[in-house]
């Protein structure tokens, strides 16, 4: 008896779902025809965060560029945070797309690739701007990639210069530098590869220690790994690519009186004098640039662009703290390497 009731309740729910879904489809179709006449001018845009803002890294950076696009280009903007449940992302993004309220959808990162590919094919009138991963050959998607290997090359060269430096108090004679990654995945390893190439470019004898936290939030573990790199392996500078967990790395550097390199956003002010520089993925400028190009009708939709040092897609943070704490000789050398990277005299190999 009970079971029967349960079944009928399920059936009822299912039929309601089917009916409402059907309705949604119909109304969507009718709006589609009216929307396609809109053409090039962009009135509203939505940024779908697959996670939450506040990584002080690339989600926040994209948000900054998105807000700038909103105010400077006069676009109605809305940001939706998808939360950490991956299973929700596809359906919540689809509901945003299907609502037809937004001319452009901005989203990014490797986890969203398949979701966006699927949606872009089924909603060919919806424009997508995608950051941090490649999506090719879909006419309504523009994607941009950041040459993290080029930026990390600079970080690696910087680290090698620090560990061989005699001017910095925290640098020891051992030529050892560290790398702390979030998880062992292709993107993080592209950072690592660039870092190694940069270090080798300065000095062939520099040893690089690599550790992975295993996730992006376990700050205590990242701190412990970093302390082990400093204390037992005699590293004097560690480069973190570990999201929120990486803050543990930076704190370890400060406590041990050693140095660290931040990532994605400018993390130098977190521990002045210990975080010597940060490798920046300038997602904000690239997002703004994409919206600007789109409004001018010049955005190459359907293509992927790789933004390197020359295009301002990556770089290292040179703020007042950098000027204050980094020895002049290292600053000069870094400027020289930047020039060589821009002109293509140094080629960085990407593992992707």
């Amino acid at each position: 008896m009970k079971l029967k009731k349960l079944w009928s309740a399920c059936l009822l729910l299912l039929s309601i779902a089917v009916i409402t879904a059907g309705c949604g489809g119909k109304s969507g179709d009718s709006e589609k025809s009216s929307n396609s006449s809109g053409g090039g001018d962009i009135k509203s845009a939505v940024y779908y965060v697959n996670g939450t803002l506040g990584d002080k890294g690339f989600f926040d950076s994209a948000q900054a560029g998105f807000q700038k696009a909103g105010t400077d280009l006069g676009i109605d903007i809305k940001t939706v945070e998808g939360g950490n449940n991956q299973a929700d992302w596809a359906s919540s993004l689809e509901s945003l797309v299907a609502s037809k309220k937004y001319d452009v959808v901005l989203t990014g990162t490797i986890q969203m690739v398949d979701i966006v590919k699927d949606l872009a094919k089924r909603y060919p009138d919806q424009k997508f701007i995608f950051f941090d991963e490649v999506i090719n050959d879909i006419p309504n998607v523009y994607s941009m990639l950041y040459s993290q290997s080029e930026g990390s090359f600079l970080a690696g060269a910087f680290a090698a210069l620090v560990t061989t430096s005699t001017e910095l108090k925290g640098a020891n004679p051992d030529k050892v530098i560290g790398f702390v990654g979030g998880v062992d995945d292709p993107i993080v390893n592209d950072f690592k590869s660039g870092y190694e190439q940069g270090a080798q470019y300065i000095d062939k004898d520099v040893k690089i220690i690599t550790s992975y936290v295993g996730d992006w939030s376990n700050a205590p573990k990242a701190k412990e790994l970093t302390l082990a790199q400093y204390n037992t392996q005699k590293a004097d500078i560690v480069y973190q690519v570990a999201g929120g967990a990486g803050l543990g790395t930076l704190e370890a550097g400060n406590e041990a009186g050693k140095y660290s390199i931040g990532v994605d956003a400018n993390q130098n002010p977190l521990y002045p004098g210990s975080v010597l520089t940060s490798m920046l993925k300038n997602i904000d400028t690239s997002v703004f640039r994409a919206f600007q190009l789109l409004q001018q009708g010049k955005l190459p939709l359907g293509k992927t662009e790789v933004l390197g040092l020359k295009e301002g897609g990556v770089g290292i943070a040179k703020d007042d703290l950098y000027a204050q704490y980094v020895p002049k000789s290292i600053q000069d050398k870094i400027a020289e390497i930047e020039k060589k990277l821009s002109t293509g005299e140094i080629k960085v190999e990407s593992t992707l």
């Binding site: 220690i209 939030s217 204390n231 037992t232 543990g248």
Partner: protein, 312 residues
């Protein structure tokens, strides 16, 4: 070869022990909390959420009042408060305790992020500069003795509290009338009720104890191990603690051993992970603590079975 050399040298200079103690403390404290709630028959699977709430509260209060002690107390208070709320739903309103625990986990993760954005306008992490930390205990004279110094001195106060908590729990559970009531309520609530033991009150208090210990562990994460709050920074510690409760055969001494095993595995992982050019893929190294836990569980289960067979 390099791997063994490095591990050996770290055992010799006791770095391994120091790291091990840091790793095991949050697990040990949380597991003790889980133990008391388990014994009382109200198993608290919301430990993860409680730790997060306490971690956030304690760093926020500590940096606001400039006192680590107030921070820790506030963290524990927040955690206990949520436990009473959990008790209200589970004991008074008869919500399934597992569901209430899940709710606390989700609440802990979401509410800390919410508070962070409401109070500080931050999202993701809160990283106050110069917040006070739970102090390290340097023991005079002993700290100058070569081996003993490193073994006993210079640990965080919370690591000592964790060890004392084990003793406290042994006394509480096995040497006090309250402990007898607690065990009776967990084993057979109806029988306990018939003897006039206030079952509900004992269950509320069991949950509150789990809140106290999870609160201490959470405060240690944000205010001792690190000096920051990162969203979801517990990264599964609360669930590991529940595994340790079972691994420890549901008694405090067993839990101490279980936490030691887990702490040791984590410390070894750290060493292996920081060896340059290690040939082992990182994913395998990260598996070590969990593999060790499963292996230990199997080992203890087999031993118990054999003992039962001999007894029969």
């Amino acid at each position: 070869m390099v791997v063994w050399q490095t591990i050996w040298s770290q055992i010799m200079d006791l770095t391994l022990i120091v790291v091990l103690l840091r790793f095991m403390t949050p697990i040990l404290l949380t597991a003790l909390g889980g133990l008391i709630s388990d014994i009382g028959g109200v198993i608290n699977i919301g430990l993860e959420g409680l730790m997060l709430l306490s971690a956030f509260t304690s760093i926020a209060v500590a940096s606001g009042t400039d006192s680590w002690l107030l921070g820790v107390l506030a963290g524990v208070a927040a955690s206990v408060l949520i436990c009473y709320g959990m008790g209200f739903f589970a004991i008074r309103l008869k919500v399934d305790i597992i569901i209430a625990g899940f709710a606390v986990n989700i609440f802990g993760s979401g509410f800390t992020i919410f508070l962070m954005s409401k109070i500080y306008g931050l999202t993701g992490n809160y990283n106050p500069t110069g917040a006070p930390k739970i102090p390290l205990v340097d023991i005079p004279f002993v700290q100058d003795v070569p081996v003993l110094g490193k073994l006993l001195s210079g640990h965080s106060l919370m690591e000592w509290i964790a060890f004392l908590s084990v003793v406290f729990c042994i006394v509480l559970i096995y040497r006090t009338p309250y402990g007898v009531h607690l065990r009776a309520v967990g084993e057979a609530p109806q029988a306990a009720r018939s003897l006039g033991i206030p079952v509900e009150r004992v269950q509320y208090s069991a949950l509150a104890w789990s809140g106290v210990f999870a609160g201490l562990a959470g405060a240690f994460l944000s205010n001792g191990l690190t000096n920051m709050f990162v969203k979801d920074m517990t990264a599964g510690t609360g669930f590991l603690a529940l595994a340790v409760v079972l691994l420890g055969n549901r008694n405090p001494a067993g839990i101490l051993i279980g936490s030691l095993i887990f702490g040791l595995a984590s410390a070894l992982t750290t060493i292996v992970q920081t060896i340059p050019g290690s040939p082992v893929p990182s994913q395998f190294i990260q598996m070590i603590p969990y593999v060790v836990t499963i292996a230990a569980l199997v080992f203890f289960a087999l031993r118990k079975k054999r003992r039962l067979e001999i007894a029969a």
